[in-house]
Every structure is written in structure tokens, then in C-alpha cells.
Symmetry: D2
């Protein structure tokens, strides 16, 4: 048969297997894997290279108003960075405003993203006041392909839901095919600690972390699990950072509960020490949960290796250090750590940072694929369309050169942020080519695509296997 694209001779990696094969693409999908003798309309030599399913980043915040600022990456710069970094699908968060409908939020976010994405994109829905009306509206969102709902146990007064609301949301997802994603930190306690710190004159960025202790995350994680257990519903913990929180997830899974969790590269590669950088530089790392003390990352690595953690996403939520342009930056909190917009860029760095762990023997290449693509696809209703490179899947293909190195820097990245949290860090491995549904977006490390290529991903209701 005839192929639009043939990727020749690469080492193809799936979540379970590794083998050398050609990949033939037709109509944007993988048509065949194996020995392909027919030339494609386009042929790429991948001998000696690693061929991976395009990454899925299940946690980004593009073009998002937050804490008096707006994230500096919109859907164009965000997804362009994503694709450069080997991520071909993202799931962003639409935010319901208090007193308004999910529908209103979804329309808003569709406007923000439509025609502005290089990668394919979907949405989770954030609920800020989960009334009885919102309960009912959930299934409409699921019909629209928005099958996951994020609630917050942190940020009292703005985003935080009380346990009753969380419980009702979980009860609904038991049957409606939705999935609750939880930001698990005890906001009430953090609020007390923040006030006390400010009252004591502590204003520097490090105090952001000192007022958000790991125990506050472990507690909320345990609580969310209890509420899910009571509701007989599954649960997905976002951006898990603390070893104690992981222990709670591990206990829940050992009891057979359908609890899932993601961590993010910043919790694996950065630490509390970064808040002690000179001047205001610690603000670069102000995010929630905060970076954790050195040593904690070992527990996360163990969790990734043993399937206590199922996904690595980024929580990309970028603000500039400097003001200017479309939004104020981190300097908003120069004199008060609690006013520093929370978040940091990440979508472009995830795949290479994690591949580095493969090089170092921390995880296998198969586990890499599971964490970055197959698992998020299965959990969030994108499988079998996304998340693997077997026949029938979207031809989201990444060709990685394992022998080249990459050095992270704000000078060479493609997201809009004016800093790079990993500035100067060099890893083994370099993204050479990226295809989204068979269309070349990056070739030889250069952009050859269109930033409007991305399509909305209408996700299916939850039907994944509990044994994931």
C-alpha cells in the first residue's frame, strides 16, 4: 500500500516492548509497523534513533487569569513549546466562575484555544462553586468531550471547595463516566500559616514553601481518597509532590481503590534549595505544591518505578519574572510571597527530563512511554486514539536522538516565559523530529509545521481499567 510517511528503522518503544521497525503512516494514522519496502511520500531515516509515541501532557494552564495576572503562554506559544519538546497533545483547564455555568467556561476556553494550537488539545473543567446545578451539568460536559473535573482543596475564598461539594462531585462521577482531578493541599491550614508568616515579617519567596508543608498535602490526599472511597468513585491526584502524599496513594491502591496520581518533573529535579537562590530568584519556583526538600524526590522516583504514580505531567503555568507585555509577572509578590503568581513553565521540558531518567537507569524506556503517553491517554479517554504507535493510532510520532545532548535555557526554548527553571542543565537526548497526526511539525530540530494544526480532542467517558 502507499504511505504518506515512513519512519524507517528506528527503535520503537511502547509501554511494554522495544523493537526495531519501520512505521508507515497513512491518513494521519499509523497504518503499519514492521519491514516496509514501499517508500512513503515522505521518508524519514530513524536508524539509531528512538521512536516514541507523542507525549500527552495532561496538565497545562495556557492563557489563564490567576492571582491578578495571566499566564504568559497562550495556546499558541504553549503548544508550540510542547511540540518542540515532543508533546503532541495537551489537556488544559477551563475554569468555571462562581455563579456561572460550565458551559460558559467551556465556550470561553474554546475561544481561547480554537485555531491557535500546534498540538492537539482537550479540556478538563475546573469547578469553583459546585452547586446542585453544576452536578447536573457535569454530564453535558462529558457529552462535549470534557470528561474530567478538577476541584481544589486549597485556595480558600477563591478556588477551594468544601468536603461536601467534593463528595457530591465524586458521587456523580461514580456513574456518569467523569473523573475528579484533585488539587490536594489543606488550604485552611496553609492560610493560617501564611498569615502568621506575613505577620512575623516573612515575605521572601522561600516562605511560600515554608507555609505549605508536605503534611498539608499528605492530609488532603488522604482526605480526597476517603471521600472517593465513600463515593465509590475513582480519583486522580494532580501534581503530587510529597512522599507522604504518595504513601497515601500507595495505601489506597494496595487496598484496590481506583486511585491514580501524577507527579511533575519539577518535583523530581528541583528542590526547596532553589528557593534559597539569591535575591528574588526563588520566585521562579513559586508554585503549588511547592518544591520539596532534597531527598523527597527519591520517594517519587520509587513511586514512578513501582506504578504507585501513573503519569508525569507538567502543570505548566508560566509567568514572567518581569512585568510587561500582556501580564504582570512574578514581581507582583516582590514584597509579599503570597502575591507571587503561582506557577512555572514546563510543557517543553518534560519529555527530555524524563528521558534522562531512562538514561540513568531510574526507569525503563517502556515505563517512560507509559508515564508520558499511554497512561494519560487511557486515564483521560484518549485511548486508543492516542498514547501508542500501534496500527490505528494517530501518527503522533517523536524521533529522539539518544546520542545528542540538549541544554535547557530560556534562550533556546519556545515557550514565552522569560526564564527556564532548568537553565543550564544538560541532558542526554534530543528531540529531532515531531509529527502530529502524520504531519511534520519539527524536523531536525527546526519548526516546519503550522501553529494552527492542533485539533480539539473530544475525550470519551472514563472506562479505563482499574488495574492500570
Amino acid at each position: 500500500m502507499s504511505y504518506d510517511l515512513v519512519v524507517k528503522g528506528g527503535t520503537v518503544v511502547s509501554a511494554s516492548d522495544t523493537f526495531v521497525a519501520d512505521i508507515g503512516v497513512a491518513d494521519g494514522r499509523v497504518a503499519a509497523v514492521g519491514r516496509i519496502e514501499e517508500p512513503g511520500r515522505k521518508t524519514v531515516d530513524a536508524r539509531g534513533k528512538v521512536v516514541l509515541p507523542g507525549g500527552i501532557d495532561a496538565h497545562t494552564h495556557f492563557d489563564m487569569p490567576f492571582m491578578g495576572a495571566t499566564t504568559i503562554d497562550d495556546f499558541t506559544t504553549g503548544t508550540t513549546g510542547a511540540v518542540f519538546g515532543g508533546t503532541t497533545s495537551i489537556i488544559d483547564f477551563a475554569i468555571q466562575s462562581k455563579g456561572r455555568t460550565f458551559r460558559h467556561a467551556l465556550d470561553d476556553w474554546h475561544k481561547r484555544a480554537a485555531g491557535r494550537c500546534a498540538a492537539d488539545y482537550g479540556f478538563h473543567m475546573i469547578a469553583t462553586d459546585f452547586t446542585a446545578d453544576r452536578e447536573l451539568e457535569m454530564s453535558k460536559m462529558i457529552d462535549e468531550g470534557v470528561s474530567s473535573f478538577k476541584l481544589f482543596m486549597a485556595y480558600p475564598g477563591s478556588l477551594m471547595s468544601d468536603d461536601g461539594a467534593i463528595f457530591r462531585a465524586l458521587q456523580r462521577t461514580k456513574d456518569n463516566g467523569g473523573m475528579v482531578c484533585m488539587h490536594a493541599e489543606n488550604g485552611s491550614v496553609i492560610s493560617v500559616l501564611v498569615k502568621q508568616a506575613l505577620a512575623a515579617g516573612h515575605v521572601s519567596p522561600e516562605w511560600h514553601a515554608l507555609t505549605r508543608p508536605m503534611t498539608a498535602e499528605a492530609e488532603a490526599t488522604r482526605r480526597a481518597i476517603a471521600l472517593a472511597e465513600l463515593a465509590a468513585a475513582p480519583l486522580y491526584i494532580v501534581h503530587l509532590s510529597a512522599g507522604g502524599a504518595l504513601e497515601e496513594v500507595r495505601r489506597a491502591r494496595a487496598r484496590g481503590l481506583p486511585v491514580f496520581a501524577e507527579t511533575c518533573p519539577q518535583y523530581l529535579y528541583l528542590s526547596h534549595d532553589d528557593y534559597r537562590r539569591p535575591g528574588f530568584e526563588g520566585a521562579k519556583f513559586v508554585m503549588s505544591p511547592p518544591l520539596r526538600p532534597k531527598g523527597n524526590e527519591e520517594k517519587l522516583w520509587e513511586g514512578l518505578g513501582r506504578n504507585d504514580l501513573q503519569v508525569v505531567s507538567t502543570d505548566h503555568c508560566s509567568f514572567n519574572m518581569k512585568d510587561g507585555g500582556k501580564s504582570p509577572g512574578k514581581v507582583l509578590g516582590k514584597k509579599d510571597f503570597s502575591k507571587i503568581p503561582n506557577g512555572a513553565p514546563g510543557v517543553e521540558y518534560r519529555m527530555l527530563l524524563l528521558w534522562d531518567a531512562v538514561q540513568k537507569g531510574r526507569i525503563t524506556e517502556n515505563r517512560f512511554v507509559a508515564l508520558t503517553a499511554t497512561n494519560p491517554a487511557k486515564i483521560f479517554g484518549l485511548y486508543p486514539r492516542k498514547g501508542h504507535l500501534n496500527p490505528g493510532a494517530d501518527a503522533d510520532i517523536v524521533v529522539l536522538d539518544p546520542n545528542k545532548t540538549h541544554t535547557f535555557s530560556a534562550k533556546n526554548h519556545h515557550v514565552a516565559a522569560d526564564y527556564n527553571p532548568y537553565e543550564g542543565k544538560t541532558v542526554k537526548g534530543s528531540i529531532r523530529d515531531v509529527f502530529v497526526r502524520g504531519t511534520a511539525m519539527v524536523e531536525g530540530g527546526k519548526w516546519t509545521g503550522r501553529t494552527t494544526h492542533g485539533k480539539f480532542l473530544r475525550r470519551t467517558p472514563r472506562s479505563f481499567d482499574l488495574a492500570l
Copy 2:
């Protein structure tokens, strides 16, 4: 020397030792233990009997307004029943009203109790709105001998404190010598379940239990422990009922945290099945936390044996089944389980119920003494005045006849309640004599004391040993 009282030849039990000895009392205190040749002004033959330190019930609610009713036992009937049952000290709860001071509540409760107690009595203070003023007022209460403060994670809208308030209270007790006592159930979740049950037409007493699941208690227990850990403060969990909650206490103690917990006889001897008694009879057992499913009690017994639980108290909180007299009764909730006043009588039954467990080999007689007297004395600032029978201690002495039996019944109990949760149950062991500070209150099972004998117990600030 000369003794006011000599108790001759009994088998004396302490929290660690068992031996035969005479006990000589002078000036209300134990003066000597051993072979006493001088006759006392009064001599009691205790040969073949068990001599125990008077019980301390750290959890009673006498003369308490609650849920539109008032507990049917006031301090007179309550403490009289206590003494008949071998309990010579109780700690009741003063309740701060929203917007008012601890002082106001303490004055109120002093009025309720003063001159009306057979047993010695102390107070915990319940905080219902823990403002910054209340934070400051804590140490005044401690100066007054009220060194423990109860907060609620249940009863939203009336008693429940949010996590921030609880955390602030714990922070204060880190240094001020106070101790936080916690009612640990997730009130928000329970509130949702109650509304859903009523909306579905479920109104019978059993639904009280069905809407207060064990997981809601385990969750809150874990959360309270996390808040205490963050505050570096000790914590005392009241009326722990669920195996899952016990597991959280066990985990905390295994990590070296100063976490303590009590359970109550009703969770050891009664079960969810009692809610299924015919008609409205289940209302007798409506209390919070509710009785748990059969089998759960085994975990509590293990916890008592292994020192995961340190205290057995009663949560005596009695309402009549019928209306009439000073207060409406359980019938308030005849058509709506959520309106049934929560609570049941217990103060008079505890000692014999638990002694039954000694007879059956579930706990040792030494452990019995630790759970009913020595440990509550140490935890709540009554030691070394109370809780043991070594020289110097208050001569609160119970002479128990191990060869007689006792049958529980509303017909023979001395508290005011018009029912007995253990109606008809027979145990081996009978309380023969009870002395409070050397004064005979009960002799040969008959009342010989005054119901005004009891004195206020000014408790010392917390200074117990973490290894308790």
C-alpha cells in the same frame, strides 16, 4: 499510726502489679499499703475481693443542652450513678457559646455542678467559635484547672470548627500546657449523606448510622493527627469507634507522635445490629459516632490490648426515650433520625463491663486499671493525685466482688435515663464498696454517702510522658 479507714486483705491491682495487701487511709489519702496491724476507725474486710483505684471517666455530659433537649442526667444523678458503678471522678464538658467567652461557659458549668456531685469532677472546655480571643483565653482556663479543649470536626453550623481554627488551637497547646480533644468525624460529608437520606425518605434510627460511615471517622482522625503533627502538639481523640480510625492512631504512634485515644464500652459491646431492633427502639443507640458493624469491635479490643488505645471512657450523654420531665427525649426524632438527640447513658456501667473483659482474658487486670484510672489521670493532669492506690494518692477505692454477678437494667441503675442500653446483660463481678477520698459512698452495694461530697478537680497543665 492511726488510720481513718483500713481495707483489709484485698487483692490490690495497679496498672502494673497485683498483690494482696491492706490499705490504710488517713486524711482522705492512702497512707500505707501492706500488712497493717492497727485497726482503722473503720475497717473493711476485702479478703477474696479485688481492690481497685476508683475509676475516672474522662468523658461525660451532664445537664447539657443539646439538639433541642437537655441531657436527663444532671450532676447529681450522673455522679451518683458513676459512684455506684465504681467511678469516683468524672470530667465533664463546659460549652462555650458562639460569641461568648470560655470564662462565661466555665462560670455556667461551675454553677451546674457545684454542690451537686457525689464524685469529684473536672471540666474540659468545648470551643464552638475559636477566634483569636479564644486563643488568648486558653491559658486563663488552664490556670483555672481546665487544661483540655474539645473541638468538633462534625456538626457543621453548630459545633464544627474548620481546619484553620483547629490548627490554631493545636498550635497554642504546643506551649501552653493544654490538650486538644477531638471529635473526629467529617461533618461536611455526613451532612450531604443525611440530606440525601432524608430526601430519599429514609427516616428511621438506623439511618443515623448509615449516614455516618466509618471512613468519615477514619478520615477526620487522620486529618486531626496531621494538624497536630504540623502544630507539634499532642492530640487526644475522643470516642474512637472505627477500626480505620484506630489504624490512623496506630500509625501516628508508631511514628512517635504524642497521639492518644479513648474508646467507649458501647463500641465494644454493642453494634450496628442494635439499630435494627423493632420499632423506634434503635433510637436508644443513636449517638455519634454511631455503633459500628459487628466485627469492628475486635479491632478495638486489639487496640486496647496493645496500647494503641489508652483510655476507656463513656461519653455518657443520656436522653429519655419518652418525653416528659425536664426535657424532651429521643422521640424528638421519631419521624426524622437526624432530630434524635444523640447520646446514651454509660457512666454507671463502664467499670463492670470492662472488668468482664478481664474475666474473659481479653485484657489483664493491670491493663484494666491503666485504661479506667491511671491513664486518664496521667493524660488529664490528675496524676499523682488520682489514678492509683499508692501512698499519697486520694483514697478513691473500689472493692469489687469477683464472684458475684451483676445484671444491667434500667430497673436497678441509678442514673436518670429511662432505659439501659445493656438491659438484661449479666457480667461476672459486682461493685461492693466505693470510697471517695476515704469516705464511704457505697457499702455492700448500698448508698451510704452524700451526693454533695464531690469536689472540683483543678487539673494541672499537661506534662505527661509521651511514652504513655
Copy 3:
């Protein structure tokens, strides 16, 4: 290109993915997976069918002398049954005799198997006296493709090694690429119990199980793990049967130790109750470890689902119930349970028994493939040649009809045993076609192959990933 065989339109299952594709085979290997338009020299319609990698049974005993008998299945009947059941590779055990070399045993077993196998076959080596010479000889065996060594903690006086010998074997495998496989039961204790039972006149088959308690397996498993940890070597526990033993494996893996374990279908589907069948029928199930009490199997299922167990093999070791033919049968132990030859047939039933668990939602189809093919291939040096159906792999292909049923019976099985432990059990799923290296062996449930098709599998030294 041209294919020798095309399997069209089946649902292909790997250890991580499920998708519809054609499979093209050339030169005995998978050449392409996907949409294949060229007809193969042979084409099989697999639409609506499940296409699986051929099963690998890592634990069989064909043509083995044991306990005064010889297993009734030789390599011909054993591997024929295997292929009928969807298993295309087996690993059998050569047995070193005391005082003789591994080489001698390997030569012997090569003679038993060569030219008599339908499936591909490899060997583990059983060490019975692990002297210093045997230590040195291990690496020669590894060079010959025999890279795993089984030792026994049971059967004192015949097969049992002492802890020192086991430890030395483990020390060697730390570096030489070998793997120790352990039969973990405390033989010394079992020996005492057997003597006591016989002395008390207990001779029936059930006493085989009553004298081999689960604790004796858990203990030995823990001990083997400790020895492996001390030697810094990996360990593979064979035929794990008891929940307590699984708990030890789980603890070890949670600590990051490279410990692996298999269980067998008999421990999942049969139970101690089968020993209570009338007459001598319990002898059918006399094997070591024995079948375990009902309820224990739940723990094994949990272990399979959570990756505490990595492999399902059979420990196929068949004896007839009746004497006659080449060997005495189970009746050897008619009057003394300890003389019943230990073992039962299994190689032919494994795949369908486990597929039944997929139907019932106990494990996913992907986990099925991992347990029956991918994992044993990776652990025992057969990967990437065996264990999956990606391009380059041996075309060991099973076409399973998920809509047909299969009823197990000695009347329709192809192994030599005169009974079937699952007699009368019906499962959903039926093996339709089986290909070994692209050659049809079974088509439409009928034999179309040669019983001499199987080749010796020279396995590579251990190099698997610890995160398996």
C-alpha cells in the same frame, strides 16, 4: 513484500496495548503489523478473534523421574498438549544428580527432549548438591543457554540445599548472569509434621496438605529473599501459593529488591477442599506446595493485578492415578500420603484458565499477555525473541476465539495424564489456531503440525530490568 503467513484483522494484544491489525509473517518471524494488502502464502481470517503472543510456560517437568515414578508426560505429549493450549515455548528442568556434574544432567535432558518437541523448549538446571565445583560450573551452563538454577528448601535428604549452599549459589549469580529459582518451603518442619502425622495414623491425601502449612512457605520465602539480599542477587520464587509468601515478596519489592515470583493456575482455581473428595481422589491434587484453603486465592489475584506476581506458569508434573504403562502412578501412596508422587498436569490448561480471568474482569487482557508471555520471556532471557508480536519477534501466534467455550476434560486433552484436575469446568474462550515460528501447529482446533517442530532455546544471561 511477500509474507509466508498473514493473520488478518484480529484484535492483537500486547502487554500494554490492544488494537486491530493484520500480522504478516516471513521467515518464521513477525515482519509487519498493520494494514497488510498483499496476500500471504497462507492467510488466516482472525476477524472477531483475539491474537496473542504464544504462551511461555516457565515451569514444566516432562519425562522426569521422581519419588519412585516417572512423569507420565514425555516431551512429545507434554509439548503437544502445550501447543494445543496456546503455549508455544516451555522451560523444563534438568536435574543434576548428587556427585555428578551439571553437564551430565544437561546432556541427559537434551537427549530426552531433542527431536521430540512440538513447542520450543529450554532448560533450567536443578542443583541437588551445590558444591564448590558446581559453583564454578554455573557459568558453563549459562554459556550453553541454561541461565537459571533451581534450588530446593524442601525435600530434605533428596533435593534440599542448606542455607549456606543457597547463599553461595546466589552470590555467584550476582555477577555471572544466572538466576536462582527457589522452591520455598521449610522442609525440616514439614518433615517433622509428616512423621508426626504418619505416627498418628493419618495416611489420606488430605494430610499431604495438612503437613505443609502456609507458614512454612512464607517462612522459606522470607529466608530466600534474605539470602538473596545478602548476596545482592536477584531471586525468582517458583509456584508461590500462600498469601503469606506473597506478602514477603511484596515487602521485598517495595524495598526495591529484584525479587520475582510466579504462581500457577491450580492455586487460583482449586483449593484445599479438593483434597476432601471421596476415596483416593484427593491424590490427583497432591503437589507441593499443596492447594491452599479457600480465600487464599484472592490474595494471589490481587498480587497478579498489582504486579507483586509477575508470571503464571504451571509446574506441569503429571502422574497417572492408575499404575501401568511406563510408570507407577499416584496409587504408590494409597496407604501413605507421603509416598504419593507429587504433581499434576497443567501445561495445556493455563492459557484458557487465565483468559477466563480476563473475561471476568480480574485482570486485563494486557496483563494476561504480560503474565503468560512477555514477563517470562524477559525474566528468563528469551526476550525480544519471544514474548510479544512486534516485528522481529518469533511468529509464535495464538488465535483465540473469545465467543466459543471450552470444557476441560481428560477426554479431550492431549497430555498423557489419565485425569484432568479441572474436569468438567467450562470457560469462555477457545484456542483456534496456534503457530510456532510461523508454522501452523493447530488450525481450527485440529492438529496440523509436527511434534518435532520445537527447537532448543539457548537463553541469554540475565539482563532484565529490575523495574519489571
Copy 4:
């Protein structure tokens, strides 16, 4: 009444209580505790001092032939040192020789001890070949007051029993009132490691520890527990040293098994680092199990605090560093660590070393009494005669001055050893007076007793409470 001795005004400590009282002694027993106005024939002023029950050291080896030497302390010097150190009862070990009876060993040891003891003394019986005859002979020993039997999992070829023998011994103690005491180290593995170390030219004392890893102790501990569980018998682990072994005891106790364990001061206060002292000095610390790496002691302290460990004994087993006198010394192993006689002195230091932990807040004074006196008395059939100071108990009384200090040294100790493992260490606390059955042995730190005062302790069969 009239007292032979009155100890006035001391702070009396029991395993649960602390109080100020006089103690009146008559006929060698405590007659009264409290306010005593009559003067005794002898009166001791204990105001400001701590009054403790005399220590019980359940693990000493006096006058014992071992490894080609004999312990340098005989019963006279050993028990004299004990009494100086506040220990008033010891339990030593009689050793059955292979092929001979328990009776023979008991006669032998009675001869060694009779008329030569300052402290009261009892015996455990060590079994070295546990034949069927020895099984039967156990109950005769129990009749003689020797109700505990030690077996070894270490020292293959000399002391080690195989698992079958251990199991049979445990089976017997299920019913005969005996108790098995276990030296839990995997001797087979240690033997391999020792041979390998010597073959590699490693001969220095540190290699004693390097060839006895903690895992070998944890494994054997787990195994002993499994055998006891199978036999439904209690178990006492002697000289537990490794955190991993403690974890096994903890797990067993959490499951309700009657498993008990002792540790020794050397594992709390010394560490592996002591083996690295210059020259041959490390030999002073050669004992089995060996001293463990720094940090391990923290786990033991936790275990002492939480009742995972019930007893602190010493395993006093002293050899001189130099040869000469009645026995060769540690120099036997100058060129081969495996020939260094195993053991060190301890009986004289235990009480003050552990009191130091009370001073430092690691354990309470009540826990001190439980660990050093009450618990060993209860476990080993000496209670209620020994182990407390309530009326009726033997008047074994220690008056400790908490305000003085003591510096350990070979120059001031009273045992025969020519070195002190704690040389130069100063602790807060000093033993002032010691009474054995009311008779002054040490007064004001000076010897005033007779070294023949000690009597044989005929211990009662096991009947302790599992909840200990």
C-alpha cells in the same frame, strides 16, 4: 508492727507509678509501703533518692566454657558485680552436652553456682542436641524450676539446632509450661561469610561484625517466629540487636503472637565503630550478634519505648583481653577473628546505663522498672516474688542517688574482666544501697554483704499474660 528494715522517704518507682513512700521490710519481704512511723531495726534515709526494685538480669554466662576458653567471671565475681550494679537476681545458662542429659548439665551448673552467689540465681537450659529424649526430659527440668530452654540458630557444628529440632522444642512448650529462648542468627550463611573472609585474608576483629550481617539476624528472627507460630507456642528472642529483627518481632506482636524480645545495653550504647579502634582493641567488642552500625540503636530505643522490646538484659559473657589466670583470653583470636572468644562483660553496668536513658527522656522511670525487673520476672516465672516492691515481694531494693554521677571503668568495677567496654563513660546516677531479700549487700557504695547470700530461684512454669 516491727520491721527489720525501713527505707525512709524515697521516691519509689514501679512499672506504672511513681510516689514518695517509706518501705518496711520484715522477714526478707516488703511488709508495708507508705508512711511508717515505727523505726526498723535498721533504717535507711532515702529522701531525695530513687528506690527501685532490684534488677533482674535474665541473660548471663558465668563460669562457662566456650570456644576453647572459660568466661573469666565465675558466679562469685559475676553476681558480686551484679549486686554492685543494682541487679539482685540473675538467670544463667546451663549447657547440655551432646549425647548427655539436661539433668547432667543442671547438676553441673548447680555445682558451679551453689554457695558462690551474692545475688539470687536461676538457670535456663541450653539444648545442643534436641533428641526425642530431650523432648521428654523438658518437663523434668520445669519441675526443677528450670522453665526456659535456649536453642541456637547460629554456631553450626557446635550449638546450632536445625529447624526441625527447634520446631519440636516449640511444640513441647506449647503445653508443658516451658519457654523457648532463641539465639537468632543464620549460622549457615555466617559460616560461608567467615570462610570467605578468612580465605581473603581478613583476620581483624572488625570482620567478626562484617561476617554477621543484620539481615542474617532478621531472617533467623522471622524464621523462629514462624516456627513458634506453627507450634502455637510463645517465643523469647535473646539479645536482639538489629532493627530488621525488631521489625519482625513488631509484626508478630501486631498479629497478636506471644513473641517477646530482649536487647542489651551494648546494642544501645556501642556501635560497629568500636571495632575500628586501634590495634586489637576491637576484640573487646567481639560478641554475637555483633555491635551494629550507628543509627541502628535508634530503632531499638523506639522499640523499648513502644513495648516492641520487653526486656533489657546483658548477655554478660566476659573474657579477658590478656591470657593468664584460669582461662585464655581474647588473644586466642589475634590472628583469626573467628577464634576470638565471643562475649563481653555487662552485668554490672546495665542499670546505670539504662537509668541514663531515663535522665535523657528516652524512656520513663516506670518503663525502666518494667524493662529491668518487672517484665523479666513475669516472663521467666519469678513474679510476684520478684520484679516489684509491693507488699509480699522479696525485699530486693536498690537506692539510687540521681544526683551523683558514675564513671565506668575497669578500675572501679567488681567483675573480673580486665577491661570495661564503657571505659570512661560518665552517667548521671549512682547506686548507693542494695538489699537482697532485705539484707544489705551494698551501703553507701561499699560492700557490706556476703557473696554467699544468693539462693537458687526455682522458677514457676510459664503462665504470663500475652498482653505483656
